[in-house]
């Protein structure tokens, strides 16, 4: 490779796709993976690199999008791709970006902006890898995107619950039984909100859903363009673990947004912007009842009315009680309580 002239640590300028007809025609993640019928996460991979383009390196931490995508000799990747350990998406992004920066700034390789994207599942991102992602989001001199594809369980290993699994869901670690109907009683982690709030120098955090493909791709392009470490949280319906007809992947993605369970927003340089159906909800459009979403999935088939009501109540709180609806779970102390407060 030719020696560099000057190194600027710049990023690729990726303008948003103006509509579906303007989307890149080439595929950088193609056929040959062994994912489930209707796998939304495979679609996320495809859209992610379609948005990023050819001059991209992708790192994938252990999970479905590793094991099912790249069984030996059966890669679907057109761009360079490398496996990283389950908890290492943050370190993989950081190390790859740092290696390129070092070699380019020292003139050892040609200086050019190369996209670095590391992805992780909810197990790798919201559970095991959270610390490394957090660290990476503080290293502002390294350009990389970490994309969390959240199918709400350790779907590769047999559907075990993760910190991102919804309340009450049936998983192989939380089977409903005669004695205990709901083993899993933890509420889903607010991963994107936590990372946006906790890393003031991370310039871009967004939530996406591939049911809205063009918007999803444009968030990826924005994250790669703005530079520094960035984070995107994608909610991916999983026909295997959620137990539904694979044909319904898109519909369930839409329902997750329309019920207000998964809000779509982006935080750019500290500025919060809701978008899509979520913006309509913030602007006052009624949310669909969560049951319309939950009862289409076998993982909630054991729910009783009280479970559905509890779930609805918790989602209502996100929108009616949270200081920043759907994003930051702080609540303002009400006046009477404040008055009684000794301090």
């Amino acid at each position: 490779m030719a020696e560099a002239t000057t190194f600027t640590n710049s990023t690729q300028i990726l303008e948003p796709f103006r509509g579906i007809k303007k989307v890149t025609i080439e595929e950088y993640f193609t056929s040959g993976h062994r994912t489930c019928q209707g796998c939304e996460s495979a679609l996320v991979m495809k859209l992610m690199v379609k948005a990023a383009g050819a001059r991209t390196i992708v790192l994938g931490s252990t999970g479905c999008m590793y094991v099912a995508n790249t069984t030996y000799y059966t890669t679907p990747w057109v761009v360079p791709w490398m496996h990283t350990q389950l908890g290492s998406s943050g370190s993989a992004a950081l190390g790859t970006a740092a290696g390129l920066k070092a070699l380019m700034s020292k003139g050892k390789i040609k200086s050019e902006p190369i996209n670095v994207i590391a992805f992780c599942g909810d197990g790798g991102g919201a559970d095991m890898g959270l610390g490394a992602i957090s660290a990476t989001l503080t290293h502002k001199e390294y350009n990389s995107l970490i994309l969390l594809y959240d199918n709400e369980s350790y779907a590769n290993t047999d559907i075990q619950l993760s910190g991102s699994t919804p309340y009450g869901a049936n998983t192989t670690f939380s089977p409903p039984g005669k004695a205990i109907r709901l083993i899993h009683k933890r509420w889903k982690k607010n991963t994107a909100g936590m990372l946006a709030a906790g890393h003031p120098e991370c310039r871009y955090v967004a939530t996406v859903c591939a049911s809205y493909a063009v918007e999803m791709m444009n968030k990826v392009r924005r994250a790669l363009t703005i530079g520094g470490p960035t984070f995107i949280h994608s909610l991916d319906p999983c026909p295997k673990g959620w137990d539904y007809d694979p044909m319904l992947s898109h519909e369930l993605g839409e329902l997750a947004i329309e019920t207000g369970i998964f809000p779509l927003y982006e935080v750019e340089d500290g500025q919060l912007r809701y978008y899509g159906k979520t913006k309509a909800i913030v602007d006052g459009r009624a949310r669909k009842p969560v049951r319309e979403y939950l009862l289409k999935q076998g993982r909630f088939a054991h729910f009783l009315e009280e479970d559905l009501e509890y779930f609805q109540k918790k989602v209502d709180e996100m929108w009616d009680k949270w200081e920043v609806p759907g994003v930051v779970p702080f609540r303002r102390m009400d006046a009477t309580k404040a008055a009684l407060d000794p301090k």
Partner: protein, 402 residues
């Protein structure tokens, strides 16, 4: 016969629980006549994926020693009975566990039995089932494929009927009484299921298959490289970028040559190129990148890459522009677009006929809403609108419980 070796070829996830019930049922039934047995899934198929073919095995023997000859294996080298609970698998099996396409009857011993659930005639099935260099028996249970998911099970008696049929096929190992007793005691058993097993025993249709019969296609295979031929650092080449279709128009992605995925498919999209509005939604939404962009900006689903999820039909804004149709209606993976380009009128006729058949367009991909399976079964039991595994249409109408 020192041992009875059975394989169950099934659809990953959709039939995972069904297959597990069958292989466990085989062992527990044989136990009733004092036999020893093991049941296991092929480790290489795990973690399973929706639709991707997988295998479970049940081996029963007179003695523990005979059993040991078949233990600590990923799969037996040959089987006495191949059980296949989705007749679209008759086109061949490309599983997680290996590279290339394997005929459904590959492991079946000479004069062994291929036991299938199907609504098709044997002659129809043999158009797909690959030719074998030995005669064998094709045994059929009249039933449609039973699909459900990981958490909600469709209690349509398929497992009971397979066990009943096996008692007919291998009486030396599985007596009908043993099977009935096992079903009664097993956690998912019931009297009605015992009845279904016994009916299956009576009604099993068996047909000799000659060496001359079957699909003559040579399945694609894969040569394993030697250790020094493999690239170091656990690396493999990436897939090249695709090319325009023709005259610089359209786009065809390069595809992985080693895993084609079409045997995962039970239904395929049938596309009406005349009504396509070129909205791009099917193309952008396909998780398997199976749509080639044609020079006229329509989209042709590559039938070697399509795994039949149906997302394209779900997102298509035009009524009947994309329709999912059962694989049994097709005999090859030819390009629909080329067919359409050659003779648009003929294509239209074919299209209307193909998407017009209610039986082949019925959806069978698992859970859609709570209570769905009960509704379907109730309906089947009372009206017998479609044959189900519980027996002959309407004959169980007096039973209100399933």
């Amino acid at each position: 016969m020192p041992a009875l070796i059975c394989e169950v070829v099934y659809r990953g996830i959709f039939q995972k629980n069904l297959a597990a019930r069958m292989v466990r049922g085989i062992v527990l039934s044989a136990r009733k006549s004092g036999r020893w047995g093991i049941a296991f899934g092929r480790y290489g198929d795990s973690p399973q994926r929706n639709g991707i073919p997988a295998k479970d095995f049940a081996i029963v023997a007179d003695t523990k020693e005979e059993l040991e000859q078949n233990m600590a294996r990923y799969e037996p080298k040959h089987v006495d009975v191949t059980v296949c609970v989705d007749d679209t698998l008759s086109k061949g099996v490309e599983s997680w566990a290996w590279y290339g396409l394997q005929p459904i009857n590959r492991l079946t011993v000479p004069n062994g039995t291929l036991l299938m659930t199907s609504l098709q005639a044997p002659e129809e099935l043999l158009k797909d089932i690959h030719k074998k260099d030995a005669p064998y028996k094709l045994a059929l249970i009249r039933a449609k494929a039973s699909f459900s998911g990981l958490w909600v099970y469709k209690e349509d008696h398929t497992e009971a009927r397979i066990l009943g049929a096996l008692a007919k096929i291998a009486p030396a190992f599985l007596s009908l009484d043993g099977v009935s007793q096992a079903i009664q005691e097993i956690e998912w058993g019931s009297d009605l299921k015992v009845a279904s097993a016994r009916k299956a025993y009576e009604r099993l249709e068996t047909r000799e298959v000659k060496m001359t019969e079957g699909n003559t296609e040579i399945p694609y295979s894969f040569e394993m490289p030697k250790w020094w031929e493999m690239r170091e650092g656990v690396t493999i080449p990436a897939i090249p970028i695709g090319k325009p279709k023709e005259g610089g128009q359209g786009y065809v992605p390069e595809r992985n040559p080693y895993f084609k995925k079409f045997t995962t498919r039970t239904m395929r999209p049938v596309i009406d190129f005349d009504t396509c509005v070129k909205c791009n939604l099917c193309w952008i939404s396909c998780p398997d990148s199976c749509f080639d962009v044609m020079p006229d900006a329509t989209f042709d689903a590559n039938m070697e890459a399509c795994c039949g999820c149906g997302v394209c039909e779900a997102v298509c804004p035009v009524e009947k522009c994309i329709t999912m149709v059962n694989e049994s209606a097709f005999s090859d993976n030819a390009s629909q677009w080329e067919m359409w380009r050659k003779d648009k009128a003929a294509y239209k006729t074919w299209l209307l006929a193909t998407i017009g058949d209610k039986k082949t367009t019925a959806r069978s991909h698992g859970f859609r809403f709570r209570g769905q399976y009960e509704e379907e079964l109730k309906n089947d039991l009372e009206t017998g609108g479609v044959e189900i595994t519980a027996g002959i249409p309407g004959e169980n109408a007096q039973h209100k419980t399933v």
